[in-house]
């Protein structure tokens, strides 16, 4: 604090070591107070970062349901939690035509601004309604603004039932 303690200090005679101790103590004490508030306060605000979200696996049904020629829409309900509230939401993913043994699930969320893409039977492409982004059957970008392919979701099979891992 260079701007403090010039002229008026000479108003009275005080011994310098005592004044210096006061000045340092003021800085130390108030810094400690500020820290005591700032550290927990910042942690409190940034709390969502430190939270470990648990994985959500959604049951889509028996594997036999997903054996079509075209990508298939798999709708499901899940419980979404936001803080202290819980809500049941509807959502869906795209299951790709079964070429090999493993099922492939694509997120329906466009990589551009997050609208849901739909399967266009005539063009044989996924088309995003918002900015006309287009993706091939395997999720690769064909045209339009999307910067990345559609995200592939983890899939697992348990006793013939398909589960998909939700992106959170």
């Amino acid at each position: 604090m260079p701007w403090i303690g010039t002229k008026t200090d000479t108003m009275v005679n005080q011994d310098l070591p005592r004044r210096n101790f006061f000045k340092h103590a003021i800085v130390v004490l108030n810094s400690l107070i500020a820290l005591a508030l700032a550290v927990p306060g910042l942690g409190f605000l940034l709390s969502p970062i430190f939270k470990n979200e648990e994985e959500i696996w959604i049951e889509l049904g028996p594997q036999s349901r997903f054996r079509s020629e075209a990508p298939q829409k798999a709708t499901f309900k899940y419980e979404s939690t936001a803080g202290y509230t819980r809500k049941v939401r509807n959502s869906f993913v795209w299951i790709l035509p079964d070429s090999s043994e493993a099922l492939v699930a694509l997120s329906a969320v466009c990589s551009h601004t997050g609208c849901n893409v739909a399967w266009n039977e005539g063009e044989q492409l996924f088309v995003c309604p918002c900015h006309d982004g287009r993706y091939a059957t395997n999720g690769e970008v064909v045209s339009g603004p999307p910067p990345r392919p559609l995200q592939e979701l983890q899939v697992k099979l348990e006793n013939g039932t398909v589960f998909v891992k939700l992106l959170v």
Binding site: M11, V12, L45, L46
Partner: protein, 558 residues
């Protein structure tokens, strides 16, 4: 650099800061002058922690409690931040007390500082307003019922009371409208008023300077240095210590959060936070028509005296030794406030302790089985098991299911504990003319049953059932015998069963001595319909000697 005007560093904010820091300090200004700075620092703490809490809190009666729970359990540092907000509020009340007492005894309210004082008293009211509105926000049992009591006190004001209640509640009943009102008051309106009053308070302090102790108002003031660094150091040190204590308490205890508010509960005994104990105690002393005196008139007069003090006391003398009247009056007021607050706290503790009389119950055998009986756990069980569905709202004063509002005056601890553990062994079913509904067996463990018992035993209505001076334990066999004869004469067995004799119209009395307290037996025999409105039990208009003899007999039935 001879002229300060040429120095660009000495303009604007820096000049303002210098102006504050280089305030000349009169001789004698020292530690007692730090309380104001502590209050300012605590306001900053409350603003910061309050702002943080508002990031997660939801002022809606469906979500408020859950959001506070979320803060406590899920948010990083949530419990600490909420604890600091809670204890800093208490610290503000304590510091306000010291600050006002110091100002009062130093005569610092006198001309020309009357406006500093008046804005100070306004700030006292604003801070109590913060305490009152903030109390409701967690929407737990304590919040709900303490606020209900507070609002009802406002309803005691003649003429406008009923309207005030509706305005505060935001409707006919307390609910989500009350909550959003209190939230807006707490986080928007009151902070604006606070900032306004603090600004003016500080302005007048700087205008008239600190008050040196031990002078007449017209004495010449000698100066000894500036605010910076010596006084600012004292301020910083005291602020640091107070905030350290606040953080310590917050980390060690946290802010309390009871069960979610249940407006239908009739057994909850609301107690305000400690700084309202004085007022609470005053209300207990002044019952009936006098209530309005304790709730409205006395506090109103006190506030009026505080505000008008600079105009009532125009004596320029500030030395205490020359102001015996003020010294006596102020000390008496402080003594009364401290005593009432301490008494309120003491009675609360006694009630809680009485509830948990056998504080430590050690179950023989393994160490793991040792537990502490805690009425708070009992209260939680009461809510979880929904005891209030039958014994709460609407059952007040009834016999089946028994209302529990004075269970602590009625049952014996040992019987209640045993009954709650195995209700169907102790009393299998009701018979005769009584309804068939019976107490479910919740299969409580011994610990749960005793926790619940200790909570129920804390439910007392001593005004209805005062303790009696008579000691039946000392009754001789003659007395018991004449009591038994009386029971026969008055035809008690016409309704009540004792062993193989009697009817099952009223409650059986075979083991009434181990179940009910002597004083309860006395009161129920003396005036049955006073305790159980509409009961079939007749008032036999017995004289006191007869009742004493009857109780002496009844208590031997075990």
């Amino acid at each position: 650099m001879n002229s300060q005007k040429d120095n660009p560093k000495l303009h604007g904010l820096i000049a303002a800061a210098r102006h504050f820091l280089h305030e000349p300090m009169p001789k004698g200004v020292s530690w007692p002058h730090t309380f104001g700075s502590v209050l300012l620092a605590l306001i900053v703490v409350q603003v910061v922690t309050g702002l943080l809490l508002s990031f997660y809190y939801s002022p809606n009666s469906d979500a408020a409690y859950e959001s506070v729970q979320y803060i406590e359990q899920e948010v990083a540092f949530g419990s600490l931040i909420r604890g600091v907000h809670h204890f800093a509020a208490s610290a503000m009340v304590v510091m306000l007390f010291f600050h006002i007492a110091r100002t009062f005894f130093y005569g610092a309210y006198k001309q020309p500082r009357q406006w500093t004082w008046i804005y100070g008293v306004t700030l006292l009211i604003v801070v109590l307003g913060f305490a009152f509105t903030g109390y409701l926000l967690p929407w737990d049992m304590k919040a709900y019922f303490a606020t209900k009591v507070g609002i009802n006190i406002g309803g005691l004001i003649p003429v406008v009371g009923a309207y005030l209640v509706k305005v505060l509640q935001g409707g006919r009943e307390m609910g989500t409208t009350t909550l959003s009102r209190f939230y807006s008051l707490h986080v928007i309106l009151l902070p604006l008023v606070l900032v306004f009053c603090v600004g003016l308070h500080l302005y007048y302090i700087r205008l008239h300077g600190e008050t040196p102790p031990g002078l007449r108002n017209d004495d010449k003031i000698g100066f000894a240095g500036t605010f910076y660094p010596a006084q600012l150091f004292r301020d910083s040190l005291v602020v640091f210590l107070v905030i350290a204590v606040v953080f310590g308490l917050a980390a060690a205890f946290g802010a309390p959060l009871e069960a979610k508010a249940d407006p239908n509960d009739t057994t909850y005994l609301p107690r305000p936070d400690w700084y309202f104990y004085g007022l609470f105690q005053l209300l207990k002393l002044l019952l009936g028509n006098l209530e309005v005196v304790g709730a409205i008139i006395l506090p109103g007069v006190l506030v009026a005296i505080l505000i008008l003090l600079p105009f009532l006391d125009k004596n320029p003398e500030r030395r205490l030794s020359k102001r015996p009247g003020v010294l006596a009056g102020g000390s008496a007021a402080i003594l009364v406030i401290v005593l009432l607050t301490a008494l309120g706290g003491y009675e609360g503790r006694v009630a809680a302790n009485a509830a948990a009389t056998p504080d430590l119950v050690t179950v023989e055998g393994e160490i793991e089985d040792t537990f502490v009986v805690d009425p708070r756990m009992g209260r939680r069980l009461y809510v979880e098991l929904k005891c209030g569905e039958c014994h709460g709202h609407g059952s007040a004063g009834k016999n089946i299911p028994p209302g529990l509002e004075f269970a602590g005056n009625k049952y014996k601890y040992s019987w209640l504990g045993e009954y709650l553990m195995e209700p169907h062994r102790v009393r299998w079913q009701t018979r005769g003319l009584r309804p068939v509904a019976r107490m479910p067996d919740f299969k409580l463990s011994e610990e749960e049953a005793l926790n619940l018992t200790s909570y129920l035993m804390a439910l007392r209505v001593d005004t209805k059932l005062p303790e009696l001076g008579f000691d039946w334990a000392a009754a001789d066999s003659d007395m018991v015998e004449s009591g038994a004869e009386l029971a026969f004469e008055y035809g008690c067995l016409g309704c009540h069963r004792v062993g193989e004799q009697g009817q099952d119209i009223g409650p059986g009395l075979s083991n009434v001595g181990s179940k009910l307290q002597d004083s309860y037996l006395f009161h129920i025999v003396q005036a049955p319909d006073k305790l159980i409105p509409g009961t079939g039990m007749k008032n036999f208009q017995l004289d006191l000697d007869e009742i004493e003899e009857l109780v002496a007999y009844l208590r031997t039935l075990r």
